[in-house]
Amino acid sequence: MGSEIYFTKEHEMVRKAIRDFVNKEINPYVDEWEEKGIAPLHEIFKKMGDLGFLGMRYDEKYGGEGLDYWYELVLLEEIGHIRCGGIPMAIAVQTNMATPAINEFGSEYLKEKYMKPAIKGDMVAAIAVTEPDAGSDVAAIRTTATKNGNHYILNGSKTFITNGTQADFLTLLARTSDNPGYHSFSLFVVPTKLPGFQVSKKLDKLGMRSSDTAELYFDNMKIPAENLIGIEGEGFIQQMQQFQHERFACMPMTYIGAKDMIEETVKYLRGRIVFGKPLITKQVLRHRLVKWLTEIECLKQLTYHIVRMKMAGQDVSREISMGKLFSGNLLDEMAGGCLQMFGGMGFMNEMLISRYYRDSKLISIGGGASEVMSDILSKLEGF
């Protein structure tokens, strides 16, 4: 309700086009991909790229659509209706996690050679920051990139890398200096076909099962120096900015997925008769549902507020950190709460609610854990 305040008819046409694609090309296959533990990303992204879904905000010069943040939001809302978390996450890696830094700081060469094919869906991208000993504590990363003539020599490993077994290139953060402080890191585009790259392991996860997640290994891997994104030593700062796009993407996918979860639950509660009455008639359950609906609406409105701030060119790190924190907290409470309302059926893997429950957990962990969001906010508040 009220969406016409924010979205034009053209936005709504784009919304319908994406929804049509999701309903016909993605949702019918989700169960199969969840079972296999991987989705055919090259095939899916090619189709999405042909329709212009992977480069909403990017310059037309690179095959993008040159559209505003509201269109990006439409895409993120609609992929939120995919009946799992894994595929929306894989798409958001391509659009909001691995390519924004190339767009904002990359050379013409990198935009032409990597961003353009990513927008067209000819290349699958991944973001490689996390390491076995460095997750939300990004500055603790140990992977090194040492300058050697026209190359950098990459050594180390990355883990929990979404799209990791299929990616054609990684947007990777490595240490380029031993000096302490935040100016010792650089971002690179790392093509996975070069010698020295290895997918050491495909990881088995609690949820997001249709998304492949990998542990990657770099053994004296020679990367052309021109694959450096922006200025050497500024990678940490660039990645912190890129994280804003990633964390923002969590918000619409959360409120849309959460709303779908409530609808799934209400449908079940209407049909489930206990002690002679449908479960939906129980006040305690109805009150919990509307509490969550209220929180979903709050998150949605915060997201719309952020889009307006972005359109006005304002800094949104505070609001995005709040939104990411709120998303994780909401899903942590709601997914378990909804599953509880399904009783024993909720515990069955065949039920969609159990998938929502498993997939939801990542929102408070990935892309900067809730604790890290709280720390960022505390610092911003001057505590």
Partner: protein
């Protein structure tokens, strides 16, 4: 080839749970999501493919209020060249014959070799195509599931016949065909297409422009009127299978075996 495709804005059954309204006169239309009638979408795709092969132009036309413009624009984003909205307060409540009367007037204003409709729309009557052809005094083929161009005067069309049989016909143009789903695979609408048509003016023609007398269309001209609308009671022979999809499939196979449908 000049092709006119008639399209209708209908409730999207994949987005809505359709129920009967409290008065029992229609479906409940509050908060419904609408989209283009599925059969019509196949017809538009077929028209675009024909024009891609032999050249020409595809025009999409809808009878409806201003909201119908969204389906015209969607089909134009898909690849139709022009749109035309037939809209007038007097058109409301038209029966099949009324709609065919309005469409006939629009066809007469152009110079179309081929007019396509969907085989049916949300009301399921499937009558507009046939009536339109009769009013235009043009040949007609229904349930068309393949079209081959023989020459600039003749088409070879396949028709889906009861029991999975197929019939092939030659038909002379100009003609009217009603298109069955499955004739092709309609393309998706992409961002470029949407942007291309976003600000295109779509002409609107009313009763006066079309030369249609208000007494012959709309509620005033309708000789078929819905009297009642309801969900029938379950009959004795009916059995609703319940459970998960897998369980329903197992039960259905078992039933078919028991009743002799599967051996």
């Amino acid at each position: 080839m000049e092709i006119l495709v008639c399209v209708k804005r209908v409730p999207d059954t994949s987005e809505n749970e359709i129920g009967v309204n409290s008065a029992g006169t229609d479906i409940d239309r509050d908060d419904l999501v609408y989209s283009v009638n599925e059969w019509d979408n196949y017809a538009v795709e077929e028209a675009i493919q024909i024009v891609d092969r032999v050249g020409g132009k595809v025009t999409v036309v809808a009878v409806g209020d201003s909201e119908s413009e969204e389906v015209l624009r969607r089909e134009m984003a898909m690849g139709a060249n022009d749109g035309l909205l037939l809209s007038d307060d007097s058109f409301g409540g038209s029966d099949g014959k009324g709609i065919a009367t309005i469409l006939k007037a629009a066809v007469k204003k152009g110079n179309y070799d081929l007019v396509l409709t969907g085989a049916q729309a949300d009301a399921g009557a499937g009558q507009v195509g046939g009536m339109l052809a009769a009013m235009l005094d043009q040949p007609y083929a229904s349930l068309v599931n393949s079209i081959e161009i023989i020459n600039d005067k003749t088409l070879k069309v396949g028709r889906e016949i009861e029991g999975g049989n197929q019939e092939m016909n030659e038909i002379q143009m100009p003609c009217v065909l009603s298109i069955q789903t499955g004739i092709n695979e309609p393309r998706y609408v992409g961002i470029r297409g949407i942007r291309k048509v976003a600000s295109v003016e779509i002409p609107v023609l009313g009763a006066l422009d079309l030369g249609v007398s208000s007494g012959s269309v709309g509620s005033a001209g309708a000789k078929v009127k819905v009297q009642d609308y309801f969900v029938p009671q379950l009959g004795k022979g009916a059995e609703i299978l319940e459970g998960s999809t897998e369980e329903i499939i197992d039960k259905l196979i078992e039933l078919l075996k028991v009743k002799g449908g599967l051996k």
